[in-house]
């Protein structure tokens, strides 16, 4: 029986459905006056962030608190990692406290997987390197289902730095699994090799890629990509791949626009778009909370029937 959430690839469509339907119930809890339930009282979670994160960590922490879980945050600057302790020693030390959940973000791909191999606690991947960010994909899927009813058959365009984006990878795995027509739109420099094998359509032209799109997912462009030769100026990026109201005209009239945050207005997305009614960016935030509560709840006695394997 699996106890961890490491990769979307490990989830069956039934698992995803169960997580989303449970998240719907938690979203109802979040709308109450008293937003806290005693579900995971007596459980302990450690948020182990080896990489700076405000949003994801806040979301996990709040999810844990809403479930009455005891929470400890363990971040790099205050940790013993800087003293040269090995990753695995750090994990073993933390496990000695008898924690139930370890939520890990790490700059190296595969770390949550490696940790899950020997840890007794439930390991939740909160983002590993350029590999995966499964809870982000689940909250994005939840948001799409909330707005569109279902994912199957939708035209979903993911625009931007696919190469460096764990959000993109997890979403590609999740949305194709659920039957969406996934299109990736990026300059060739930002497309990872072999990604075309994932049952996606590749576009370098934004206008063509978002034609008749039901959903447009924009990804954060990091300024330091300029020095790696991945792109030229951010101004040029915006001109060709930045999402503007004018370019959105070729998408469906009821298209929704998503962004995992934090946004660079005027680089990957124009303010007129992220502030428009098409934008569901703030729904993503609240849904993130509900999805993370659902994952914690479901993993607390490990009932996801995993089908995949790495």
């Amino acid at each position: 029986m699996y106890k961890d959430l490491i990769s979307i690839k490990d989830l069956s469509t039934q698992d995803i459905d169960l997580i989303i339907s449970t998240a719907i119930s938690f979203k109802e809890v979040l709308q109450r006056d008293i937003k806290k339930v005693p579900t995971l009282r007596g459980k302990t979670a450690i948020n182990l962030f080896f990489e700076p994160s405000t949003r994801t960590k806040t979301s996990f922490e709040l999810a844990q608190k809403r479930l009455s879980t005891d929470v400890i945050n363990f971040t790099v600057p205050t940790s013993s990692v800087v003293k040269g302790e090995s990753l695995f020693d750090t994990i073993k030390t933390i496990e000695a406290y008898g924690v139930d959940f370890i939520i890990i973000r790490h700059q190296s791909s595969g770390v949550p997987y490696l940790v899950s191999r020997f840890a007794n606690a439930s390991i939740i991947n909160a983002g590993d390197g350029i590999n995966e960010h499964p809870t982000q994909a689940l909250l994005d899927t939840f948001t799409i289902i909330e707005r569109k009813g279902a994912v199957a058959g939708l035209n979903i365009a993911i625009v931007g730095d696919i190469f460096h984006s764990r959000v993109a990878r997890s979403n590609i795995y999740c949305l194709t699994k659920l039957g969406a027509n996934v299109r990736l739109i990026a300059p060739n420099t930002l497309l990872p090799k072999g990604i075309e094998n994932e049952n996606v359509h590749i576009y370098t032209n934004l206008d063509k890629g978002i034609k008749d799109a039901d959903v447009i997912m924009t990804l954060r462009i990091q300024k330091e990509r300029q020095s790696g030769g991945f792109l030229s100026t951010t101004e040029e990026y915006f001109r060709f791949w930045g999402l503007t109201r004018k370019k959105m005209a070729s998408a469906k009239p009821d298209v929704i626009v998503m962004h995992p945050g934090p946004m660079n207005r005027g680089v990957e997305i124009a303010s007129e778009v992220c502030d428009s009614l098409h934008s569901v960016i703030y729904d993503q935030v609240v849904n993130g909370l509900a999805v993370r509560m659902a994952v914690l709840y479901l993993l607390s006695s490990a009932k996801l029937n995993y089908t995949g394997s790495l």
Partner: protein, 434 residues
Amino acid sequence: MDIILKNGHIVDPSAGINTVGHIVVKDGKIKKIILASGIAEEETAKDMQIIDVAGLHVFPGLVDIHVHLREPGYEYKETIESGCKAGLKGGFTTLCCMPNTRPPNDNKTITEYIVQKGRSLRLCNVHPIGAITKKQDGKELSEVGIMKDSGCVAFSDDGRPVTNSLIMRRALEYAKVFDVPIISHAEDVYLSDDGVMNEGYVSTHLGLKGIPAEAEVIMIKRDIELAALTGGSLHIAHVSTAGGVSAIREAKSLGINVTAETTPHYFHITEDYVNGYNTSAKVNPPLRTQKDVQAIRQGLHDGSIDCIATDHAPHHRDDKECEFDRAAFGISGLETALALGLKLVEDGVLSLSTLIEKMTIAPSNILKLGKGTLREGADADIVVVDLNMEFTVDKEDLVSKGKNTPFHGWRLKGVSVLTIVDGDIKYNLKQVNQ
């Protein structure tokens, strides 16, 4: 004590021998090979140790021109002693060690230290390979002539390439004066960037940064062009790509002075071994694809690749049991190379004789070591192998300090039971009946 190895199946490609016979070892040298069934007067000499090796194979001691013995500086990963013991167990009698020690072997003091240490241990023959450039930083040439006089048999900045083409040109020109080969670690570091495995679908699937095959191919081609330009002697280390094999094949057909080696992991396993973030399969150049494995095998078969080395790169577990990105590159190879090579014979890629050639006389000739032969008068470096003995690779059984092998759990056939260096038995698996 002088030795007679009786009734073994002797395979010595250097002498064209592939038959049952006896070897007489006297004063550390091969005195005689007797291919007739009877043994003459030596048998009666009472101070001779007579070892019956009937049913076993006898080869020249294996020669590995690409190992990392880590000493000085990284003794926690391997020492000259532990590396030599691993070599003896693997059937190797001669090891040429790369200069990426700490400090690097870029001056005669380090060279002399390694040579002395190797001699005093009296295990394998240890020949250092000197750094092409000081500190291996690709800027200023080392004292190639002085280091050669101190015992360096070749020069390489292995672990990294000589990035600057001008310096590589000068190195080839300069080394020619001293008649020593330059060994190229062929990698375009700008193309590999911070990649940690082969670039392709598997790297994307694992979210790991990739090193394209072209990072190797481009550099092999550059170095071949420089070899053609300078007439220097170029040896390409650890060829891993189909493109690299083609480039070398073409260069050879044009008469360019280039030789090449590959290693067992490039002709047996692919990037799929990285799945599960298996750091034992993290190596540079990275494990490639099935197509590359086939091309490497073809290259060995048609002679484009001259020899098999191990690129034995032992690491401490702390350098491997960590994040994949942070894990050290390298595979501990000395103790599995022979059996993995023999698997090529089983797979019909090479004849037994050609395999042994590529692990003895061929590498010896590339670095002009005068080893890898059982000719009369040669140093008595011999390995006796049981080709039928099966074993399961267990990393914990490795004599090397580096337990980092991706072949853990493999069932293999062919075990060296007796390793003789300079006429002395240095390794004896089961006290062969004497």
